[in-house]
Symmetry: C2
Subunit: 391 residues, 2 copies
């Protein structure tokens, strides 16, 4: 902690980044961000208990109190083993100055724009976020996470475009992972309708990953936000992709998987959404398409909700869907309509025999149908006027 405060370049950079803040606390947050891999619950618990600055002092003090604590807690002793190789003032300074070079801002827990939905991750919540663009979109509402396969089909890309475009056009923030395939289609559709979108990256926000999405990520940063929990310069890795997925699940008020292979990373995002209690939707597709196999698995194994329209996606976070299911059949009416001829005529008695209904019931129903101009009566009997679909 003292080493951080004595680094003049670091202190200056932090003052430029957070002119109104207690520099020691901000430095400690960045230090934790550099020290730990995403989702380190021991660090999360220690920071929650002591605050970032005091937690750092405690973890790296050589005094007896800390040793006593370590003896008490095997998890903490193990954690110190993995944090110590990364303790470096240079790394903390680079994190801050590299962010400055790409105009990335530091977003800390407790900031007005900090997305509180991430706090649902408990001690696995990120120690801080690095944001290129407008951090305000992280707390705008509603927010839908739309994710899926990189190896998407035309079917999946069209649906991602349609759903994300529809939602974004009506003010829904589209959260995704910036990848090829479904993610890219969702981001692009949101940008295309002038909507807001957030790309959560597995590596630093200074790195375009994938490289081919450099322009797309630039466009997202200009009108939405490109966000990461790891400092600039950090390469995306399998672990960081998996960790990043929990942020996508936690940031969205619902997660929708458009297409996903049988072992797709999107299932990992979906699993996080489910374990966070976030509504989870999966879009079905042809069972003959490998790109939909993961979605069907979500329907079968994760209790995901089957979603096929934008309205059904909105329903995930509680917007009511117009009920299209009113299809009540009156059995007796159906039987009488079945029995009514359209070209010849039949008496009430004949209709009773054909329909298996009592004559007085037939008379009563015919009265109703006559009012609605469905049947007409003459002396030689009843006839049905309009025809309806049979079967």
């Amino acid at each position: 902690m003292d080493a951080l405060r004595q680094d003049e370049a670091l202190v200056k950079a932090l003052r430029r980044a957070r002119p109104d803040d207690d520099i020691a606390e901000v430095a400690a947050r960045v230090a934790w961000n550099v020290l730990v891999e995403p989702g380190d619950a021991v660090a999360g618990a220690l920071i929650a208990e002591l605050g970032a600055e005091e937690a750092l002092r405690f973890a790296f003090a050589d005094d007896g109190g800390s040793l006593a604590y370590q003896r008490r807690s095997r998890a903490l002793r193990d954690a110190l083993g993995r944090w110590r190789p990364r303790a470096s003032v240079d790394a903390v300074r680079s994190a801050v100055t590299d962010a400055e070079h790409v105009a990335a801002t530091l977003l800390l827990p407790g900031d007005g724009l900090w997305p509180e939905s991430l706090d649902d991750l408990g001690h696995h919540a990120p120690t801080m976020l690095w944001v290129r663009g407008d951090a305000a979109v992280l707390t705008a509402s509603p927010r839908a996470s739309i994710v899926g396969a990189r190896a998407s089909s035309t079917y999946g890309e069209l649906l991602a475009s349609e759903f994300a475009g529809d939602l974004a056009a009506s003010g829904v923030v589209i959260v995704s992972g910036g990848a090829y395939g479904i993610d890219g289609a969702a981001h692009r559709a949101a940008l295309g309708v002038g909507g807001a979108t957030v790309a959560l990256l597995a590596g630093g926000v200074d790195r375009a990953y994938p490289q081919g999405h450099q322009e797309l990520l630039g466009a997202i940063a200009r009108s939405g936000a490109v966000v990461s929990e790891v400092p600039c310069g950090t390469a995306p890795s399998k672990w960081r992709f998996l960790s990043r997925n929990r942020l996508i699940a936690a940031l969205g008020q619902a997660t929708v998987v458009i297409e996903a292979g049988w072992r797709s990373g999107s299932l990992n995002t979906a699993g996080h959404a489910a374990s966070l209690g976030r509504p989870l939707g999966a879009v079905p597709g042809p069972v003959t398409s490998a790109a939909s196999a993961g979605c069907h698995r979500l329907l079968r194994e994760y209790d995901a909700r089957c979603v096929t329209t934008t309205a059904e996606i909105r329903e995930l976070w509680g917007e009511p869907v117009r009920d299209q299911s009113a299809n009540v059949t009156d059995p007796e009416l159906t039987r009488l309509l079945d029995a009514l001829p359209t070209r010849s005529r039949a008496s009430t008695q004949e209709l009773a025999r054909r329909s298996g209904l009592a004559p007085d019931k037939v008379t009563a129903l015919l009265g109703l149908l006559e009012v609605e101009s469905v049947v007409d009566r003459r002396d030689d009997g009843w006839r049905r006027i309009s025809t309806r679909d049979r079967g």
Copy 2:
């Protein structure tokens, strides 16, 4: 009842049909079958209480006891109103002789081959069945009901063929409704592999409905069974289609809907299956296909199980599915693998820094990976041998 026993032609026809049985009881069963529309619960309850013969005597007696009962029971009084217009010895005789002309047999509750699964319908169970073909297939097991849209797509027909063919080839009886589209594809696939299939018709078994399925229904009758609960000569009507659907749902040990429009009759079958507690499967399809809209509705509103393979269909009636979901990730191993270079080499200390793991943890994991030949060690450090898919 007396009028029935005095009709010589009827008695003779019944003796030919059921040489070993009490003719009065059989005559009464057929009489009830002619009197009521499918699913008449008042008739069902009365027959369950008194037996077919006594119930008939009771319902049509003009004595005080019956009148007293009628006063007590409004439902029975109403029922008599709808039964009486149909009371006709001619109709009962025609039912028996028409069946004889198409070699249809009478199957009565209590017969050895009576499918007891229909008894789950309670008082809505059929009063009897008319069977062309081999009634034994109705009690063979397992039985899967495979139904769907008449306006099916190539996608749906291919799946119906594949699923029904696979299942029938391994001894599953395929139950369906004999209609165009999915039903026809399922029946044909079962016949194609030499399997057993049952067509449950809404009209009499002497009528090919639809007309274009005359040959198909003939083939089903030759190797399986064509079945109806209404007597020969009865036209299919909307009411009878809806009623027939409950038999499809009750006869199968599980019901699978392959394709269905938003208001398809298959949803009615599915609803019956669900209310009978039978497992219900729905095959997903493109959300852009109207022919799959009903299946998606079943997934959303009826809690149907998403089924995409024959194995998943078998699982509906309890056959275990091979678990393909073992995909456990050891987070620490993932992080170490992420950190290991493939072209250069790294020291244990360097790997600890990169992975965010403690050096002794890195050493332990490297030892395991060395045994599995995933890494190799030299004096200048560690290297990963095999490459794996990233992200």
